[in-house]
Amino acid sequence: MGVAHRIARKQREISVAEFFEKNKQILGFDSLTKALVVSVKEAVDNSLDACEEAEILPDIYVEIQNISKDEYRIIVEDNGPGIIRRNIPLVFGKLLYGSRFHAIRQSRGQQGIGISAVVLYGQLTTGKPARIISKIKEEEVAYELLLTIDTKKNEPRVIKEIPKIWDREQGTRIEINIRARYVRGKQSVYEYLQQTAIVNPHAQITFVEPDGKKTIFKRATDKLPPPPREIKPHPHGIELGELLNMARNTKTYRLTSFLTTEFSRVSPKIAEEICKKAYLYGEMRPQELSIDEAKRLLEAFQKVKLMAPPTDCLSPIGDNLIKKGLKNVLGSLRPSFYAQPITRAPKVYNGNPFVVEVGLVYGGELPKDQPVKILRFANRVPLLYQQGACVTTKAISNVDWRRYGLEQRGGQGIPVGPAIILIHVASTRIPFTSEAKEAIADVPEIREEIELALKSLGRQLRLYNVKKERKSKMTEKFFLVNKLLPEIARKSAEIVEKPIPPLEPVISKIMNVVWIDEKVEKEENKIKVNVRVANFTPKHHKFVLYGDYPLGNLVDTDGIAEEDYVKWDVDIKPISYKHFYFVLEDADKYGETNYYVEDISPNIVIGAEPLPGDWNIKLSEIEEIVEEEEMDEDIEEEFEVIDDE
C-alpha cells in the first residue's frame, strides 16, 4: 500500500468530533455566551425557513432553562410543516445534511453550520442526547426522538423513539442541553431574537428567559414575504469546487448542454464560445471533467460577455415592513422620527444578485452621547459579531454624517447621536468574511449600494431636523404675532394717544407662511377632525389640500371624499383663516393624519408636505430657503465676557 493510501485511510478516520473541536472558532462556539446565541440562532433560522417554505405565518417559542452552573437547555418550538419521521435523524444527526445543497437562492440556511452541529456541541459538552418532537399534518401522531451523533461515522444514532399524541396540528420542537453562559444586553439571545423580530415582521416570537421572564415579539403583519425563487448559478459567480460538484451530478450528457441547462444566462451559442475558449470539446461528458479542465472552463467564463443574472429571485423585506418592524420592536424607546426605509433596486456582484435595504430611527429616548446603534442583517438574519470587519460598518463610516445632523469626528467613523441604523443585505450568496459568517466582506459593489442608501436616509434626517427647527421657530413667531405684537401696538398707541393700528400687514411680513393644523373632537364613536388653514402671507392662495387619515371610515366631510383620503380645494385671502373638517367612524384611537399640498410652493407651507412624487425636487428647495433665513440673522452684539465696568 502506498503512502498516499495510508494517509487517505487516516484521513477518513479523523472523527467529526475532532474536526469540531479543532474548528470551534470557525463554527462560532468559541465562547460560552456565544455558543448559546449560535445554538438558538441555528434552531430559529431553521424554523423560520421551514415556515416560509410552507407558507405559514411563523409562531416560534424559545425558552432557555438553567440546568446547572454552566449547563443550559435550549427549547425551540415552531408551527412549521414538521419533518417526516424518516428524515428527522438526518436533519438533526448528520453534519452538512440539507435539502438545499445546490440551490441558489436567498435563504437563511446558507449561513448556518446546521442544527446538527448544535446537537453535536451539546453531546460533546454535556453528554446528553437531543430531544426532537415533530409532527406533520398528514399523520395522527408525533414522533419523539432522542438522538446523538456517531462521531466516527457522522451518522445519527437514535436512542429512543416514542410515537406520541401532541396537541399541535403540526410543528417541530427541539430540546438540546449545552454548556453555555446566559447574558443579557449586547450580543445576547434576547438581542438576537429582538433583531430577528424586526426583520421578520410576519413572525411572532415568544421568549422565556431562565428567570421566567417572558417577552413576546408580536407579529406586525399577516403578509408572508414572497418565497425567494431558486435560480441557476451564474457562470461569473461559481467556484471551482462547486463547478466540479455540479458537473459530477448533472444528468446531461454533453458539456454544452450542461452549460445551457445548469447555468443561467448561457445560450447554446455562448456555450459553444465558452468551450472554444476553454479548449474543450463541446461533446464531452461533463461528468468526466478534470480539475484542470474545470479551471480552464472557469477562466473561459470570465472571457465571455454574459447578461447579468436575474434579480427577481430576491425577496427584500420592503420599506413599509421594515418601518413596521422597527416601530413594533423599538416603539418603547419612542423615537421621534422613523425615516422612510430605502430598498434599493437589485444589483449584481461577481454574478450574484443582491439587494440592499436600510432604515433609520432617530431621537426620542435614544441616547444622545453614544455611537449610533447598528443593526446588521444578512438574508433576514441578525449579525451580532465582528461589527468592525463588516462592509455595513465601513459604509456607515464612509458617509459624512455631520451634514445630516449627527456628530462624527472628522466626518468619518461611526457617528454619535440618538439614532439606530438598520442595514439588510439580501443575496443568493452573501460574501462573508469567514466561515463563521459573522460579517459581510467589503465588496465594492455592495458597499457603494449601502452608502447610496444611507445618504438618502441622511437627507431625510436632515430634512426632519430642518422642519423641526422651522416648526419651533414658527411656534415662537406665533407667540410673537399673537401676544407680543398686539402688546407693542397697544402700548405704543397708548403712549402716543392714538388708536391701535391694524396689524395684518406686519403679521404677514413676520410670518409669511401658510399654516395648517388640526383639532380633534371626539363624539361617541366618531372622531371629528377640524382642519385650520391660516394664510399669514400677503398673497392670495389657491391650492389643493389632501388629508390622508390612518384609521377608520370617512362618514362626513366638507371636502371631496376619495377612496382613503379627503381633498379640499382651498382658496384663501391674505391674513385670513379657513376651516374644514372630516368625520371618521370606527376609529377608537386617532393616529396622525398626514396632510399634503399641491399647487403651492411647499416652502411657505407649515404643517403639510408636498404631495409625494415630486419629493426630491422640493427637498433641495427647502434647504436653500433655510440657509437664506440664517443669513438675515441680526448681527448680535458680541459681549466680551471680560469687559470694563
Binding site: E476, K477, F479, L480, K483, L484, L485, E487, I488, A489, K491, S492, A493, E494, I495, V496, K498, P501, L503, P505, V506, K509, I510, D634, I635, E636, E637, E638, F639, E640, I642, D643, D644, E645
Partner: protein
C-alpha cells in the same frame, strides 16, 4: 439737560414704533453696535467713541420684540417718575418690571442693558431718565473742599481731609455741578488707586499730605460717577490724574476706561474720560525692575492680554510693549507686592520715583 427734553426723545421712540405699525412695517430700533470692533478715536475729545456700525432690534425676532415692548414700558415708567419727581435705582426698576406682564425683565442684566440702549439711542444719560446705579462706595481723601446738595436740598461743605473719617468722602452717584461743586483745593495731583488695601496704606502713611495728592479709591473698574469726578477735577481744577493699579491685564483695562473710554459706555466717553490721565504702574517693567513677587498668568489672563493686543485703544507703543512683555514673562503682580521691601517702600521710594518720572512730582 432737562427731563422734558429727554422725555421727548424717548417719546420719539414710541412714535417711531407706532408709525412703523401704521405703515405696515415691522417695528424696529437702530442703535450703535456696542463691541470692540465698533469703537473709533474721536480726536475732538481725545477719547474712543462708537463708530458707524449699527445693529437693528426688530420685532421680527423674539428678542427684538421683547426689547421693543420693554422699551415702551420703561418709557411709561420714566414718564411717571419725572411727573412725580422721583428716581429709582436700576435694581428697583428690575423689581418694578414684575408687574409688566410680558415685558418683565428676567435678569437685572437685561434691565441694565436696556437702560444703556436708551442712552445710546437718545444721546441722554440714564440719570436724565431718573435711573441711577446703586452707590458703590468709591471715596476721596485729600485737601479738597466740596459743596454737596444734601437730601434736604441744602448745600453742605465738606473738606475731604479734615471733615471725613478714615474711609474718606463717599462719591455720590450724581457728581454733576448742580449736585457737587468744588470750593477750594490745595494739591498737586490726583491719584486713583485700584485696591482698598493700597488706598489704606497710602492714607496711613499720610501720602496725601506728604505728596500734596488727592487720593481716590476707584474700587476696581470705576463706576461712572468716579470717572466723571476724576474728569471734572482734571478739567476744572487743572490737576493731573494718575492711575495706580495691580500689574495684570484687568488693571490695564481699568486704566483704559479712565483714560481712553470704556467699550460699554463709549456713547458718553466725552463725559467720563480723562484723556490726559497717566498710568503709574504696576507695569510689566516694574515687575522686572523692582523684582516683585509674582503670580503665574492663568488661561483667562492670557486670553485677556491677547484680546487687548487687538483692542484699538491699546495700539500705542507703550501698551503693545507692556502687553507683549507680560505675555513673554507670563507673570503678574499685585500693588501690595511692593510690601516685600517694607510698609513705607511704596510711599517713600516707588511712588516718588515713578511720579517724578511722569513729571507729576518733583
Amino acid at each position: 439737560m432737562s427731563s422734558e427734553e429727554s422725555l421727548k426723545k424717548l417719546y420719539q421712540i414710541a412714535e417711531d414704533i407706532y408709525e412703523d405699525l401704521v405703515r405696515g412695517e415691522i417695528p424696529k430700533m437702530k442703535l450703535a453696535a456696542r463691541n470692540r470692533s465698533n469703537i473709533v478715536f474721536d480726536s475732538r475729545y481725545g477719547v474712543w467713541k462708537y463708530g458707524d456700525s449699527k445693529i437693528t432690534r426688530s420685532a421680527k425676532k423674539l428678542d427684538g420684540a421683547y426689547m421693543l415692548l420693554r422699551t415702551l414700558y420703561v418709557m411709561e415708567f420714566i414718564k411717571e417718575m419725572i411727573r412725580d419727581k422721583k428716581s429709582s435705582t436700576l435694581r428697583e426698576m428690575y423689581y418694578i418690571s414684575e408687574g409688566w406682564g410680558l415685558a418683565k425683565f428676567h435678569t437685572q442684566d437685561e434691565s441694565n442693558k436696556l437702560a444703556e440702549d436708551l442712552e445710546v439711542i437718545t444721546g441722554y444719560l440714564r440719570e436724565d431718565f431718573k435711573l441711577r446705579p446703586e452707590e458703590d462706595g468709591a471715596s476721596v481723601i485729600g485737601n479738597i473742599t466740596v459743596e454737596e446738595i444734601n437730601r434736604k436740598g441744602k448745600p453742605m461743605r465738606i473738606n475731604c481731609r479734615d471733615d471725613v473719617g478714615d474711609s474718606g468722602y463717599l462719591i455720590p452717584y450724581n457728581v454733576e455741578k448742580d449736585k457737587l461743586k468744588f470750593v477750594d483745593v490745595d494739591a498737586d495731583f490726583v491719584i486713583g488707586i485700584e485696591t482698598g488695601g493700597m488706598f489704606d496704606r497710602l492714607v496711613e502713611n499720610g501720602f496725601d499730605e506728604k505728596a500734596r495728592a488727592i487720593l481716590v479709591h476707584i474700587k476696581g473698574q470705576p463706576a461712572r460717577s468716579t470717572r466723571r469726578l476724576l474728569k471734572r477735577m482734571n478739567e476744572e481744577l487743572g490737576l493731573p490724574v494718575v492711575i495706580f493699579t495691580d500689574g495684570d491685564p484687568w488693571s490695564f483695562r481699568i486704566f483704559a476706561s479712565v483714560a481712553y473710554g470704556a467699550i460699554k459706555t463709549a456713547h458718553i466717553s466725552e463725559y467720563l474720560t480723562t484723556p490726559t490721565a497717566e498710568f503709574v504702574g504696576i507695569t510689566t517693567s516694574d515687575i522686572l525692575n523692582y523684582d516683585l513677587p509674582t503670580d503665574k498668568l492663568n488661561d483667562r489672563d492670557i486670553a485677556a492680554l491677547q484680546s487687548e493686543l487687538k483692542d484699538p485703544r491699546f495700539q500705542t507703543p507703550f501698551w503693545t510693549e507692556e502687553i507683549k512683555l507680560m505675555l513673554k514673562i507670563k507673570k503678574k503682580a499685585e500693588q501690595q507686592s511692593l510690601a516685600k521691601y517694607g510698609l513705607d517702600y511704596v510711599t517713600d521710594t516707588y511712588l516718588p520715583e515713578k511720579l517724578t518720572e511722569l513729571g507729576v512730582m518733583s
